[in-house]
């Protein structure tokens, strides 16, 4: 087991290194020029300015040297200064990440807490009305464009029915609790600020629902298919022949096996939620990592892009790693090899 673990960690480390190299090459060989993006047309037409700008950000060094500098920085936890905000990239990320983590986690919980039971029910009551509902929900979930769903939700519940708060994390006039984790719900609880907590929670409802929709659809679909598969297995027939009650067959025998692909998908989905909430964040003016990433990308802000992709790759690989580890508990066959 220990050997398996070290093995995995080494592999993961190599993958992260390669991943940064890939993103470094892409960012640097692409035609986009940060000097043009940052200085504006007027300054960019002056070669002196451009040269100074490039020297300042180390853009005039050879590629390999820049990569080496980047790696050395990473080793010290230093990702450099953002060209756009002129602050250390890590500080930027520290500011933006909590909002995203909060939103993504709530959305993820929503989608598994609804998606898995719905998928199980749909499989057990195959071709019943609940199955049709589940299939419809999952179909809408995977087919509706997130950004459009976000708009519709805002238009209906905020613009028309006026029962939901508008964009943003809290009301503009709300008093924020002292920043501890950056996640408002937790900070409010820590500070005992129940009013802001309610406000923040209300602001989370629409974006979390929208963000959960696609994941919910995928999880429902996968759970259903996977449950149907394991319900048709011989060991389920054996369990019936043993005289076990149906609920124990479904939850005790079939579900344990059916969860294996669901966990894989769930891990991937959570990683995507954490990193890919760009559109939802844009519509709901959510000050999260997604929007920060997007702005850095458009501005060709190299240090920020490198840092984000590095962190994103690490999160991705880490979550995949956790998923693999969870197999050890879900599937005894996985450990053996």
């Amino acid at each position: 087991m220990l050997r398996y673990l070290t093995n995995r960690v080494v592999t993961a480390f190599v993958m992260v290194l390669l991943a940064t190299l890939v993103i470094f090459l892409i960012a640097n060989t692409a035609p986009g020029d940060p000097a043009l993006a940052q200085l504006g047309d007027l300054a960019a037409s002056n070669p002196e300015y451009v040269k100074a700008f490039r020297a300042k950000w180390g853009l005039d060094l050879p590629l390999w040297e820049r990569y080496w500098i980047f790696l050395k920085g990473v080793a010290h936890g230093d990702f450099g200064i953002s060209i756009m905000s002129q602050r250390p990239v890590l500080d930027d990320i520290r500011d933006f990440a909590p909002a995203t983590i909060e939103l993504a986690t709530i959305a993820f919980l929503l989608s598994i807490l609804i998606g898995i039971p719905l998928g199980i029910l749909a499989a057990v009551k195959r071709d019943s009305w609940i199955d049709h509902v589940a299939r419809f929900v999952s179909l809408i979930g995977v087919s509706a464009p997130t950004f459009w769903l976000a708009f519709i939700m805002l238009a209906v519940f905020y613009g028309w029915l006026e029962i939901a708060p508008g964009p943003g994390r809290v009301d503009p006039i709300a008093l924020l609790p002292p920043k501890v984790t950056g996640m408002l719900l937790i900070d409010c609880i820590l500070a005992g600020d129940w009013e802001t907590l309610r406000d923040a929670a209300a602001h989370l409802v629409l974006p979390a629902t929208v963000l959960a929709a696609a994941t919910l659809g995928l999880i429902t679909r996968t759970t259903r298919a996977s449950m149907l598969e394991s319900l048709s297995q011989d060991y389920v027939r054996v369990a019936r022949a043993k005289g076990l009650p149906e609920w124990r067959i479904v939850l005790g025998h079939a579900l344990r096996n059916a969860l294996i692909p669901v966990v894989t998908l769930g891990g991937l989905a959570y990683a995507n939620l954490l990193t890919g909430a760009v559109m939802t964040e844009t519509v709901f003016s959510w000050p999260g990592l997604g929007r920060y990433t997007f702005r850095s990308a458009v501005a060709v802000d190299f240090p920020a892009i490198m840092a984000i992709t590095f962190i994103v790759a690490v999160v991705y690989i880490a979550i995949n790693f956790l998923v693999d580890m969870s197999y050890a508990f879900l599937d005894p066959r996985a450990v053996k090899r």
């Binding site: 986009g32 464009p145 519709i152 905020y158 990193t275 559109m279 458009v298 790759a313």
Partner: protein
Amino acid sequence: MTAVALPQEVAAPASSRRRWLRRYALAVAGGVVILFWFAVALLAPVISPFNPEFVDIASRLQPPSYAHWLGTDALGRDVLSRVLYGSRISLIAGFSVVVISAVFGTVLGAIAAYARGRVEDLLMRLTDLVLCFPPIILAMAIAAALGIGTTNTIIAMLIVWWPKYARLARSLVLVQRSQEYVEAAHVLGFGHAHILFRHVVPNAIGPLIVMVTLDLGNAILVFAGLSFLGLGVVPPTPEWGAMVAEGRELVQQWWVATFPGIAILSVVMGFNFVGDGIRDWLDPHARRR
């Protein structure tokens, strides 16, 4: 030796035809929707009531009316015409991303599975590498780095898109190559190319077709998303994602963002229905029921 009797072919009774229809009703509906959008894309100049890029500030943000069935946007452009024209770029983007990456990925995956050894290791590590990144983020980063424009966005999507085809094709070919009929072809002396193209590929193609169909909807969705963020098309061009972006602040003028969104939804659902139908049809397990 006397001949062994062959099974009789049984004509499908009416009841089974009805059952067929019920099973594939959604797939047929999805097919109709897709055909509809194809027709629209082809005939857009003929059936559009207005020039989609014609700006008329005087009649801006008008609600749906007889003149403008789906209303007008902030620049007074006819939403209906823009939705109709928008089908062109969505379908082109969706098809080019999926078809090119499917062909490229499948060839790589099939080669990997057929060659085994070093080649396989190398190709599969490459796909692992791309799969290390969340697709949207990577596409966004690449698209931004390449510069805004339809072609660049499609290129960015292609880079993140092919690995899943490589993986699927590899696993399909791996299954096929150990089948006894492939071994039989080897024993008969057929060459590798013959075996790969006459035996392996035709039998592996089914799941790939399902994936391609389901994926077309997905690609259209992602392209619209990138356009929504401002990475897809250059502004005056009508594109559904970009149209939603233009209307996203206009909560009171809901028609500007709602209709292009419905268009995306319908195409994506159409491909999903058709893909599910093909999957059921190819899967004898589901068909028997």
